[in-house]
Subunit: 557 residues, 2 copies
């Protein structure tokens, strides 16, 4: 067989079993511990990251007509790294030139290489954590988990699905059709996997690796060449990734240009040129709905998988753990300052209040409870920094400012440390659904609305309807009435959104676990991809046959 | 479980095994024999067909604002049947109203119903054969096989893939995440299948059932409601089909309008209205590339699966059975007068001739050999009628007339019986690839080109390039040089076309067997669907989750 495939086969087998059972499983430890990653791993990772600052990022053999890079850490420093860059046409020509041998490689060879790449990425998780932290504004712990092991898990999940699908049809078969008393017709048939061509992965700033790895690895495993187009503000994590991919490809005798980095500059992006090129036959896109629409209209025959925006809601109907509910919501609103596609924005609360284990709580008491929980959570500034991180994009600051006029402010957004322009705690506004629909637009960042509704059923209906109409990646419900829970399950399922019910402990609506939770359903405007289901991999390749009469002397073989 | 599912479970299990092994298998016998279908089945089927002529085709409960129908048998008689008809909006409203209970039905219930429908369709294969014969012009034997059992096999194949995919993710799981020394986080998770919505199946005239059943049954099994839009000239086979579906749905307590017939009139088709409607979220289309392009541009967010046109080629390089080769090609060109999407059009032959078991044969000798084989095959008029059938569409006659000027006629098309305007044997033209590209357009019908090329490799290259550029559903090669065969396998695979090599016996390039051959690869312009691969079913539904903390007393359960 294949040495890399053999080496990583146990990981693949475990992943395949995990996606079938969908219980908890992870291939790459999420705890940034020296006991797991080596006692010097943390220091080594930081040193590797620091060694890249202010320097050229070298990628031997990568097409480059120029160099660029203007990343600035949301925590302050300028990265000062420049990357090899070229126009779309040059990149695509290099990608196509690298394609034939990769397309012809056995499935096990490609999958073995993907698994080796993931293993190496895992080993440098601390370096990637620093790169993710200083391009996204995530606090270190989150940057490590989401940017490292969790992203790697999502990549492995995609490889597992791709492997499963590519090996579903046998490589060959003998087809023997009886002909009554005459000799049967006997054909030998052979099938091969044919990739679609050049795959374009368009990354986002907030989760450069987590959102890119599924498409990247799904396309790579299925034999396509890949061009990775990072957000101009978050190039480094994907540059490191592409660099590792190219290293492994080279070692295994393949053309490194099977994986390319399409670094570009803010205001001079080459994304449109790449999308418009006919050679691009797969596009994985994470970003806004408006550019998503543009991609759909201009992508020609390319297969498109998207994760776009939506408005996530929590419907509060009743709870038997009022404190736990408020604490859980507070954490979901605060984590990475609401810059997660899974973060809730709207909290629908009945105007007449809700039943709780502390008796009836009025609408205002619920609102105050949530605000108090946020304040408590973020009271310690070091802890607040560890939860909120920094704001990735200045536009988010502008959005917070604009949002202040959209409702009654019951908790204002503020820097974690006085005067810091780069951090922002949650802004919480109270609105009534009868008077405004300001909350029905996505307001990306630490902006939340507590929305007055007629009653529990009205809140559920409004949340589900909004998810159906504008898209949503997550939804949450707090309720104690099992009949109403059943109805809510139906309503949110119909809106195509995953629902979390009564989360009060150390698990949050924002969290989506590889091998168990499908991320995005593909069933509402928040995206057409689902990470990772079969539909995400099955159309990245086609199966082509040749058949011929089986030679008589081989019929009985 | 479910009574219908239980009853047909052995058939489903066998189908699932067959698609995995891809040897020969069929659920529905293709031989129109009284021993299999009952001694009176043939007469009963004809009687049932005759009883429909000149009458209203009743569909209890089907939306109808008018009645229409103007089918004329290619063999002569007017059918005189009228069908319930309504505008697109009325049909879609009825389809949506029927949707919720179908979407909510358990997978086993829906799959059991689909399997029961297929079993009942199989029982009335003789009636369907007459309906197919007198709308498509297929001779009876072919109408029986392709319109009956083979179509049913393709429907079953789609149901099997859909079932496999829908049951790949468990309905529920317990997710237990360790928390070091603390209690683990334990969630219960539940997944459900959510269909996309209204599915539109646009049928063609030549294979009304064979080309429609895969999409129809794939959508139905995955919980979508289905609107079947037949070609105005071939309504009856799909009206019978929809009627059987509605009967079974009603018996099982579902709304019959889960399956609707969108009968319309030539020149006043409602296809565009249906495609443009936002509620239509899946489109299965068989037809021309030009209307296929229109569908793609106007379908909005609907998922589209197509089988469009292409130019199928045979590359002749060498043979060790010259007589067998000529006979095989002759049959492929004659069968249903070339009105198959799998029929070859171009036969590339080296100008300097080919090596055969009868010595070197010049270009002209190869051409003459093929023509002589056609003449021999069709010498007996009864046999010729049984092979060629009739011409489905008068436009094909016009095309034959126009094609006469495109090259040197070495065999003219003619009626099977003198003066018959409804039959046409193959027109065979000789052209040279250096002088014309007339053969590079699809000329649907009994029109074939023998194309002079530089040598064997040139013929293979031209055939593969044309497949890549214009699309092709089949390709064939005759060669004895194994090195060249290997190169051809690579070239045709790259062009995304299934290749048949050295067929000389009772199997033909036109034939595509369910459970073994993927029909259309989706890898060239001849279509985006592949019947049936996972990609054909995986995106017809999405998987949506709800999760909640598992109650402590149920954790150990």
């Amino acid at each position: 067989m294949d040495a890399l495939f053999d080496r990583h086969q146990p990981t693949l087998a475990a992943a395949l079993q995990a996606v079938q059972e969908r219980g908890y499983w992870s291939a790459y430890p999420e705890i940034p511990s020296g006991k797991i990653y080596g006692e010097t791993a943390k220091d080594d990772g930081l040193a590797s990251y620091n060694a890249r600052l202010g320097k050229r990022f070298d990628m031997p053999g990568h097409p480059a007509t120029t160099r660029l890079g203007a990343e600035i850490s949301p925590f302050g420093p300028t990265l000062g790294i420049t990357y090899p860059a070229a126009d779309a046409r040059t990149l695509i020509a290099a990608s196509r030139a690298a394609a034939p041998l990769w397309a012809a490689a056995p499935v096990e060879t490609r999958v073995g290489i993907c698994l080796e790449i993931l293993a190496r990425l895992n080993r440098i998780s601390f370096e990637i954590a620093n790169a993710v932290m200083h391009t996204t504004g995530q606090a270190f712990a989150m940057a490590f988990q989401a940017g490292g092991p969790h992203a790697q898990d999502r990549g492995l999940e995609a490889v597992a699905y791709a492997f499963s699908e590519m090996t579903r049809t046998p490589g060959q078969a003998v087809w023997t059709k009886p002909q009554g008393r005459a000799e049967p017709i006997v054909l030998e048939k052979h099938w091969r996997i044919v990739p679609r061509g050049v795959s374009l992965v368009i990354g986002c700033q907030t989760f450069p690796t987590w959102n890119s790895y599924p498409g990247l690895f799904a396309s790579l495993a299925t034999g396509n060449t890949v061009i990775v187009k990072p957000h101009p503000g978050a190039i480094l994590p994907l540059a490191i990734t592409v660099s590792v991919i190219r290293q492994v490809l080279t070692e295994e005798g393949f053309d490194a240009n099977i994986a390319l980095l399409a670094a570009d500059a803010s205001g001079a992006e080459i994304t449109c040129d790449l999308v418009l090129n006919d050679a691009v036959s797969i596009i994985d896109y994470t970003g806004s709905n408006s550019f998503g629409d543009w991609v759909r209209r201009h992508a020609g025959d390319a297969q498109i998988y998207t994760e776009e925006a939506g408005v996530n809601s929590i419907a509060v109907a009743a709870t038997d753990d009022f404190t736990g509910m408020c604490a859980n919501i507070a954490f979901s609103l605060s984590l990475y300052s609401g810059q997660m596609c899974t973060a809730p924005q709207n909290i629908y609360v009945p105007r007449s209040g809700i039943k709780t284990n502390h008796g009836l709580k009025s609408f205002d008491e619920v609102a105050v409870g949530i605000v108090a929980a946020i304040d408590a959570l973020l009271a310690d500034t070091a802890r607040a920094a560890g939860i909120c991180g920094a704001i990735a994009n200045p536009a988010t600051m502008t959005r917070i400012e604009a949002a202040r006029g959209l409702g009654k402010i019951i908790r204002d957004s503020a820097p974690i440390n006085t005067g810091d322009q780069r951090t922002a705690t949650p802004l919480v506004l109270v609105v009534d659904s009868d008077n405004t629909n300001a909350h029905e637009e996505e307001r990306f960042g630490p902006i939340a609305f507590i929305v007055g509704v007629a009653d529990a059923a009205d809140g559920i209906e409004k949340a589900a309807t909004l998810a159906h109409r504008k898209g949503a990646i997550t939804a949450a419900l707090y309720d104690t009435d099992e009949g109403r829970v059943d109805a809510a399950v139906d309503a949110f399922a119909k809106a195509g959104v995953n629902l979390s019910i009564n989360l009060t402990g150390g698990i949050f609506v924002n969290q989506s676990a590889a091998f168990s939770d499908f991320h995005v359903t593909g069933a509402n405007p928040a995206g057409s991809a689902s990470l990772t289901d079969t539909a995400f991999v099955a159309n990245r390749f086609r199966t082509v046959m040749w058949r011929r009469p089986k030679a008589p002397d081989r019929i009985t073989a």
